[in-house]
Symmetry: C2
Subunit: 355 residues, 2 copies
């Protein structure tokens, strides 16, 4: 493997000094880039794009050719595990992800098993291996998974949901059944992320997209406990380097202290949490990732720069401990020029903080 | 007007001692009741139901005939103001509210004016007057409005939205335009709620359904400031009694102290905020309303009772200051028996706390 040329992102995650605040953006490989839309159109459907290593590698690298980003994230989907469990993931235009088979009772859950990683998810590891070769040490490559609770939401609901009636109905009515489901998912996520690390992922993100839909006690019991189990089960050293782990619960601003105590290196913030207060609350225990509102990118480039300055000022004086990102994924209709200004402003405006 | 026979809800809002914790439920007049569905079917469409005082009164009273509730809330919609401004509110099955005309630029906003209350919203006041007669002092009647920011979200997006791209785009790109829109909305809400109070509403709820989609600083500037203006502009005494005001920002758990400082009597909590922590944070400054997860009602009646006990225990020992409610509206598919157990459990299990 080539020597890593830019390790600003990994260093910031481990709270080692950096020259500038590193930046990457959730969904940086995505529909707002015309070159992505071209590859996506050729692939035909979204799952073909995910499951063809050459295509996944190509779209992973696209944003790095345009923008001075400090990390790449392997192009994939958070729902590959349930798909590998036989649920039949597919995408319906305008409605998001759907499963052909849904999980509704104890028998459905008893039929689930930890998927064989190379047999059913080997395409992800192939994409990681290929991308590591092609990226040639320019920046580190992030691997990721959805959290057990988030996967369970989609598996029980059969797709996206506004109110989580079915999955929460199961959780409240037959909690032991929900725990059985979350257990097999947690074991699967551990195997999946360790396979990604072995294939070359240099950092791990755990996306808890729907943890924020829970009450504080339910979050601890049904989402956080399983993420903690995952963090404890991950390979944390590879290729002579620490593999840092970032945990992101969207809507989890009330639970930062709980998240920071799971043994992770970094906690992701959505834009609803004030980053200055977040830093006061968790101190230097973990690095913070985030947290500009993705909708700022609908404004002028000057306004984008102004908001970047405001997030950097909110995080405040510190030689490290901040990874700049949006508070959630970049929207598909954003102009690439605005993304350009975002990335460049983070580097330019953060230099004085690290001097 | 008949003497008010049960003032437990009003007393708790004003932090006066009560014998039991009062309870009402958001959307208690709604689709989970077969008798509601019958009236709704006869009315034909939702707006006919809202705008026909006899029908709105009938569905407002329905839940009181079944359950021992401590308050009624006038049956209406949060979007009556923009409808009265000429935007053409209508409902598309499965998609929620829609506007025929949307607000996208300065000219659209310049054309908006505070609606004449009796001309264009008289049907709401008629429904309140009729319901006050029919309710015969059994329990107090709550009037309500959406918050300016929440109304703006629907008016700019044209309906529900997942990411608020258009309304936040306007907010970030042309903030002065957004302030102009919010100003005319705040003035309208003040006139609307004061007309409801004059017609007989004995308590006011301000629903900030989408404030939680904002960052902390944007919440203060674009939602909270206008709600504070409204609270300051309301008639707070009528019929020789205080008219208490409750403010509910869904997803606003990080901003309880800010909400408690607006001059309101009570702050509504969704289920993501731990009620014990909430009470520690705001002390006895305001009453707390909430906050059981509406999805608990999908579980068994015994589980419902157990969760009621847990919310009451979370609020803790106090002779007053708690109004029991769900953390958001009751879902349309809940069994009325579960609602029954919820209401009865709150009264039975709370008695020892007030002894």
């Amino acid at each position: 493997m080539s020597e890593l040329k830019n390790d600003r992102y990994l260093r910031a995650l481990l709270r080692q000094p950096v020259d500038k605040t590193p930046v990457w953006v959730m969904r940086q490989a995505g529909r707002y880039l015309p070159e992505y839309r071209e590859v996506r159109a050729k692939a035909g459907d979204f799952m073909t794009l995910c499951s063809t290593p050459e295509l996944a590698c190509e779209v992973t690298l696209q944003p790095l050719r345009r923008f001075d980003l400090d990390a790449a994230i392997i192009f994939s989907d958070i729902l590959t595990i349930p798909d590998a469990m036989g649920l039949g993931l597919h995408f319906v235009a305008g409605e998001g992800p759907k499963f052909t088979k849904v999980i509704r009772n104890a028998a459905d859950i008893a039929n689930l098993a930890v998927p064989d990683m190379e047999d059913s998810l080997g395409y992800v590891m192939d994409a990681i291996r290929l991308t590591r070769r092609e990226i040639d040490g320019k920046v580190p490559l992030i691997g990721f998974s959805g959290s057990p609770w988030t996967l369970a939401c989609y598996m029980v609901e059969g797709g996206s949901s506004k109110d989580f009636a079915k999955v929460k109905g199961m959780m409240f009515d037959v909690p032991e059944q929900m725990h059985a489901l979350l257990s097999v998912l947690a074991e699967s996520v551990i195997a999946y992320l360790n396979a990604q690390i072995a294939a070359g992922a240099q950092s791990i993100m755990l996306f808890d997209t729907w943890g924020g839909a829970l009450s504080t006690t339910n979050y601890q019991e049904f989402s956080l406990a399983y993420m903690q189990q995952i963090v404890a089960g991950l390979t944390r050293e590879n290729e002579g380097r620490t593999v840092p782990v970032t945990l992101f619960t969207k809507g989890g601003g009330q639970w930062l202290e709980l998240m920071a105590n799971t043994g992770v290196d970094a906690v992701g913030l959505d834009w609803t949490t004030d980053i200055a207060s977040a830093r006061q609350r968790v101190g230097d225990k973990v690095t913070l990732q985030g947290n500009m509102d993705p909708c700022v990118l609908y404004a002028s480039v000057d306004r984008v720069e102004q908001e970047v300055a405001s997030v950097l000022a909110g995080f405040g004086q510190a030689k490290t401990g901040h990874v700049f990102n949006l508070g959630h994924g970049i929207h598909p209709t954003i102009a690439p020029e605005n993304m350009q200004r975002l990335v460049d402003s983070v580097h330019q405006l953060s230099e004085p903080y690290h001097a």
